[in-house]
Symmetry: C2
Subunit: 205 residues, 2 copies
């Protein structure tokens, strides 16, 4: 049941197939739906007035996103597939029928958990803390949705990770190698096996 390109209201649960790099919505687009990731990975990106891009979140299968537009009716972020992905569209009632939204909202809020606000900013502390937190967070969210949290496929580019963590690609690369050398993880290309990632990044050489 693929999504049709017309302007009519999409059927609830319609699928959207996205190649890597294609956008699901852009800033200013009317926010008529939420989306659930089924496969792949979606990043949401905030474009600041000065043209700079900041990655807000990477969404894994099972997570819902698109709520950035709740107060304004139009999106403020851009959602882009990091790799080939499949999303499920959850259409919202139009303004006129808004009362129905209210029935939906509690469920949505429950679903979201922390998806709406990446409530624990990952871009804090040292580079190693950031990378560690990033990996642990990703693993935890994968596990929460029944996926493997031991072997991660970092399908986003190093540059995306660096942007997300407010650091540089070189630093991301070096930090991953460093964690590899200390046997906390095992990096091969875009795959990372988590071996023994310290919970709190306190006592390490």
């Amino acid at each position: 049941m693929a999504h049709r390109d017309g302007r009519e209201r999409p059927a609830a649960g319609a699928f959207r197939m996205l190649d890597a790099g294609t956008a699901l919505f852009r800033p200013g687009d009317a926010a008529t739906s939420l989306f659930a990731v089924r496969q792949g990975m979606i990043k949401t990106v905030h474009l600041s007035e000065d043209g700079h891009e900041r990655i807000i979140a990477f969404h894994v299968p099972g997570e819902v996103f698109g709520l950035d537009a709740f107060s304004s009716d139009s999106h403020r972020c851009e959602a882009v597939a990091v790799e080939h992905s499949v999303c499920c569209e959850l259409p919202l009632p139009a303004r006129a029928e808004r009362p129905q939204v209210q029935g939906l909202l509690p469920a949505v809020v429950a679903l979201l958990g922390r998806a709406a606000a990446p409530s624990l900013p990952l871009a804090r502390g040292s580079a190693r803390e950031r990378v560690t937190r990033f990996l642990r967070d990703l693993a935890e969210r994968l596990r929460r949705h029944g996926l493997d949290g031991e072997r991660l496929r970092l399908s986003m580019s190093r540059s995306d990770i660096a942007n997300f963590l407010d650091t540089r690609i070189e630093t991301v690369s070096r930090t991953l190698q460093q964690l590899h050398r200390m046997n906390a993880i095992c990096v091969h290309g875009s795959t990372v096996d988590i071996i023994d990632l310290p919970a709190s990044d306190a006592a390490l050489p």
Copy 2:
């Protein structure tokens, strides 16, 4: 109409007077209300598992907070008065009467705007960018609620600011002095006059 200490449901709009340093709610407390700041300033603080505190936001008069508990029914953050403050309690219906919440929510969401998620993480970029953004953000929110955005009273400690911006008190202090010296602001103690704070912190010596 002061708040009474009993366990009965508070009247809608009951006031809470808070001395500096006293908590309005703590992590784990049942979330029976939202709060609106009427006077003073409230900080919300997240306590991580390893005992470290991270300040999430400083709320100015007119802002609503306490939404951190929406999915869980109990607070995950702590709300503490930074100075002597007055809050207005907005009781939420109990679970059983939840349908009513749904009528409330759209209004709440509209009210909140960006209050729920400090959606633009301030702890990004260089120290001067952080401090500049912090001041501009505070000024804008004060203005939005009809208060003076030119003269700021930083009633929180330098240490709170540093925590919030993920840096050190010495750096906050130096950066404020630096901005003072370049005539962007005028610092006298806890009062800061905004003179000509650069919008984008690009071209500065």
